[in-house]
């Protein structure tokens, strides 16, 4: 029998093999990436001196005090509200398609629909945002159809609502909302579909046999059992909305979102501490969110 010194060497030292395999990934993500995150959190406890314009490297809560000022708190509340609204809307839109894919579509139909959902998911994010700029422009598609339907007065009234509207749909919270819903919708459809696939058909039949109407079955059996899927999808829709500065920048009005505030503070202002403090907000929200989602079994639906 030939001797295999190298293979034997590694076989006899599983810990060393493991270290060699896992070393580079852990150095990268465990040390460099987590280290960067930790450094960021530490910097949020520094403070920008207003007079010298320099970052004071002393631990203080002053930056968090600044974060809690009225204007900055508005930004946080606005972003979280948007994330919640987008999550609810994507869940409502995702359900019919996911239900159809899981219950009614033939094998071929399902393969087709899966590709139909995956394609927008994986095609360029920026292109899809850009499409909504075209669609919602003042002289664009939506305005034209609204005009054809003689509903321009309705659109104008909608745009006049403070906080929601703006000069045109492409410069309003409604536009921001629509683009968010469009861009993140596939992230909701797939986990909801996966969760619905796991609802045993026998349960639905049993419910029907026991005299429940289809709507009752849906509300009492299907919907509760698919909630882990909704929770899984909402991790994406919530997290992605919290950290986005492209969509509110391209389609929003002048009121800022967390992402834009971070970009502005770390850029010309050089106020890294405040930018860092702003990013701690989505980090905390997502940490709580992930723990809650794990509790209700969302990770099994991913």
């Amino acid at each position: 029998m030939r001797r295999r010194p190298v293979a034997a060497f590694f076989f006899l030292r599983p810990r060393l093999t493991l270290a060699l395999l896992l070393g580079p990934p852990l150095l990268w993500l465990g040390v460099a990436y987590l280290g960067s995150l930790a450094a960021l959190v530490v910097q949020s406890f520094f403070h920008l001196d207003d007079y010298t314009g320099r970052v004071m490297r002393r631990l203080t809560l002053a930056t968090y005090g600044e974060l809690l000022s009225r204007a900055n708190l508005d930004i946080v509340v606005r972003t979280v509200t948007m994330a919640a609204a987008v999550t609810v809307a994507t869940a409502c839109l995702a359900f019919p398609l996911a239900l159809y894919m899981a219950r009614y579509a033939s094998a071929r139909g399902k393969a087709f629909l899966t590709v139909a959902v995956l394609l927008p998911l994986w095609s360029s994010y920026l292109v899809r945002v850009y499409a909504w700029k075209l669609i919602l422009a003042k002289e664009g598609v939506v305005s034209w159809f609204v005009e054809q339907a003689h509903l321009t007065w309705l659109l104008d009234r909608l745009l006049a609502v403070p906080g929601l509207g703006g000069p045109s749909l492409s410069v309003s919270s409604i536009g921001t909302f629509l683009a968010f819903v469009y861009v993140w919708l596939p992230y909701m459809i797939l986990p909801v579909q996966a969760a619905l696939e796991r609802v045993p058909p026998s349960l639905v039949e049993a419910s029907a046999d026991l005299g429940a109407r289809p709507l009752q079955t849906f509300r009492r059996v299907t919907l509760p059992l698919s909630l882990p899927g909704v929770a899984a999808g909402s991790i994406f829709t919530f997290s992605l909305t919290l950290g986005d500065f492209i969509i509110p920048g391209a389609l929003g009005n002048s009121s800022l979102f967390i992402g834009q505030a971070v970009l502005a503070h770390q850029g010309t202002a050089g106020n890294i501490p405040l930018a860092a403090a702003f990013t701690v907000v989505p980090m905390l929200i997502m940490a709580v969110y992930l723990i809650a989602a794990k509790r209700c079994g969302a990770f099994d639906a991913l």
Binding site: R4, P25, L29, Y33, P96, Y100, A102, A107, Y182
Partner: protein
Amino acid sequence: MPSDGGGRNAPLGLRLAVTGVLLFLHLPFAIILLYALTTEDASFRFPPPGLTLGWFQVAWNRPDIWAALGLSIRIAAAATALALLIGTLAALAVHRTRFFGREAVSFLFLLPIALPGIVTGIALRSALGLLGIPFSVATIVIGHATFCVVVVYNNALARLRRTPASLYEASMDLGATGWQTFRRVVLPGLATALVAGGMLSFALSFDEVIVTTFTAGQEQTLPIWMFAQLTKPRQRPVTNVVAVFVVLATAVPILVAHGMTRGGGREAGG
């Protein structure tokens, strides 16, 4: 099984809703194509006053687009190569050994895409700043590879879990060395999963704009170019031509990657 529901008739309301959602998902792409052909170049007027193919030629002759495209391809290739290496190593480690904190590793790799992009972006930027590393193509690649690893890792791990261990044992029993087993059994088994993961990672990097904004410095990738057009448009139909190109260029690898992992559960889902 999925096939037992096949062919059942869905209620009319559900079918209408499905059609509506599908239109909502896909009509915007048609709009982009339409606007790439419009003769109007100063506004987004609908319906377009006329149609032309001229913008494709204008876009073809723009050196800034070619430069941005070339840079994006180089970065995506480099980030994907790194992600393939790191992701495969990690998947092999997690698959073959039980160790303390094994679950945490999966979570760690998921973190860069589970956290909002802006967190990863500014964390890397401030770390680079603290270490005094100047922004360059290399820093973009590092940023991209950080969130591409998870795609490769998930694909590779899913494939490894589906491959019976008896295959490796048989190979060793038949006298192959550990390296030969890896070369002849493990790697070919992983190949399509790696190609699929690599394609998804390439597409992810090719399209990324948020982390790139923070780590790019003066470099202009195609998404950064496009973002500049979004806020300060010039020759709007040219942007649409590029958009059409990007959609086609990403659709093809996605379809191929999807085909490769089909029947493989939910590997490509991200």
